[in-house]
């Protein structure tokens, strides 16, 4: 985490974002802040080193989760809350979270729906396919993996049929927070080697549109870490022991 290296306290730099780009919601917050030129100090909280479980980080967020935002004395957790806070405080372009009541309700609807559906399936896909076997050295039964991937399949179908349909973006003709949150989720199974967009041309072209709207460079930068997830070196036993309870609780 960042520190001044000097003895006396320094004035707050303004906004601080505690992130690890391994995490889907962190990627959404990162991209959003960068895309909208929101000035912030990046505080990396390395999840696979267990830094989120440290006492130091508990001072920032007692729930031990990322992303977290610190704006002077104001500390905020939960990615959707953070995205909406940034949206309102920095007066970003309207399309991200439209003023129009019904257009905005569509974004709220997606952001609520995705918590227990896409979020959950994408997280489990990464951990069951790659992180458990490769990083933690814990085998996953073929049945468990198959069930997880089947669930992902069902959620992707819902994403296409109920949300995207024949629109350019999830909630209308323009990109919104919904698309940003969705795409960063989908990159989780992509990072695990799942062919999420294969056989789903509508979703594939939507992805291209979202990437173009975000900007290719920023998109690549935000996803560098997740795209290397398959190549993480195995965790040493101490780290593994530290992380296991957290992992098991996270993907129940």
């Amino acid at each position: 985490m960042g520190h001044s290296g000097r003895g006396r306290s320094v004035p707050t730099m303004g906004l601080e974002l505690y992130l690890d780009l391994l995490s889907q919601p962190c990627r959404a917050v990162y991209i959003f802040a960068k895309k909208n030129d929101i000035p912030f100090e990046l505080r990396i909280v390395d999840l696979i080193k267990g830094q989120h479980l440290s006492d130091a980080f508990a001072q920032v967020n007692p729930l031990k989760k990322v992303p977290a935002l610190k704006d002077g004395d104001f500390t905020l957790t939960e990615s959707v809350a953070i995205l909406l806070y940034l949206t309102r405080k920095y007066k970003v372009p309207d399309y991200w979270y439209p003023q129009d009541l019904q257009a905005r309700a569509r974004v709220d609807e997606y952001l609520a729906w995705q918590h227990t559906t896409l979020r959950r399936s994408c997280l489990r896909a990464l951990w069951h396919k790659v992180m458990f076997p490769v990083f933690l050295g814990e085998p996953v039964s073929p049945q468990t993996l198959a069930a997880t991937l089947a669930e992902l399949d069902v959620t992707l179908q819902l994403l296409e049929d109920k949300f995207l349909q024949n629109k350019a973006f999830l909630t209308g003709p323009h990109i919104s927070l919904a698309d940003l949150v969705a795409i960063t989720e989908l990159m989780h199974p992509v990072g695990a080697g799942c062919q999420v967009f294969q056989g789903r041309p509508k979703l594939a072209t939507w992805r291209q549109r979202v990437e173009a709207a975000v900007g290719e460079d920023l998109f690549q930068e935000a996803h560098e870490v997740i795209l290397k997830a398959k190549d993480f070196p195995p965790a040493d036993p101490t780290i593994k022991q530290k992380l296991m309870p957290w992992v098991l609780a996270m993907i129940r």
């Binding site: 729930l63 957790t77 939960e78 809350a81 309102r88 709220d108 609807e109 609520a112 227990t116 129940r252």
Partner: protein
């Protein structure tokens, strides 16, 4: 046709929207969709909401799902008192912070006792004891976080006044309470919070909204619950299978 709300008071998010609308005098046509019978999976209802979930709001051609989205929509459209969904940047952020955590840690977890004690047995399915224990632990852990992180020594979950957060939370907590879980025992801060929220809403409105869920065990015992339709049966099996 004005605003229509499709709901079933057996469901926690349905109750939250119902109470909000009633408390704020929002004119709604209520359309009961019997969850236990499986009417939410009927062809007719799926035409209105292809996800087959409740509550669903219909405002002319505009159809909206997800209780938090509906609550926010109604609060803005009907310009309900500011405290529900404060316009202040940080105060509003606190509401969303709660709703985000609620989606992960409360939703899904607090509904399980109804599946274990009533809905599973209704279709002849028994949830394994270890899952019931695991759910009990998850409920207790969530309640600890609710008390320590969100309530603290504040009167309400997201600040000094009642917000959408309190409504969503109360209705989820009522679910296991209705199934005999004494959630407020040994939790005086939480019990006091509940008292404050119910006092604010009014005893009559609370009674009205809670009477169905509070009588669910009795109905199950008397065997007066409806039989789930074949469509509902499949969905119920899937839901039970997903209990961790």
């Amino acid at each position: 046709m004005g605003l229509e709300l499709f709901l079933d008071l057996v469901s926690q998010p349905s109750r939250a929207v119902y109470i909000f609308a009633k408390k704020n005098g929002i004119p709604l046509e209520l359309r009961t969709v019997d969850l236990i019978k499986g009417q939410h999976k009927s062809k007719e209802f799926l035409q209105i909401n292809s996800l087959g979930k409740l509550p669903t709001l219909k405002d002319g051609d505009f159809i909206l799902t997800e209780s938090s989205a509906i609550l926010i929509y109604l609060s803005c459209k009907y310009q309900t008192p500011d405290h529900w969904y404060p316009s202040d940047l940080q105060a509003r952020a606190r509401v969303h912070e709660y709703l985000g955590w609620h989606a992960d840690c409360i939703r899904g977890t607090f509904g399980i006792p109804l599946w274990v004690q009533v809905l599973g047995p209704l279709i002849g399915v028994q949830v394994p004891k270890e899952k019931v224990e695991r759910n009990r632990t998850a409920i207790d852990q969530a309640l600890q976080w609710l008390e320590d992180k969100f309530l603290g020594d504040r009167p309400f979950l997201a600040g000094q006044q009642v917000t959408l957060a309190d409504l969503m939370a109360l209705e989820e907590l009522m679910q296991p309470v209705a199934l005999g879980y004494e959630l407020f025992e040994g939790r005086p801060r939480l019990a006091a919070w509940r008292g404050r929220v119910e006092a604010f809403l009014g005893a009559e409105l609370c009674q009205e909204a809670h009477s169905i869920i509070l009588s669910i065990l009795e109905q199950a015992a008397k065997k007066t619950l409806p039989t789930p339709s074949p469509e509902a049966y499949q969905a119920m099996l899937l839901r039970i299978a997903r209990i961790p």
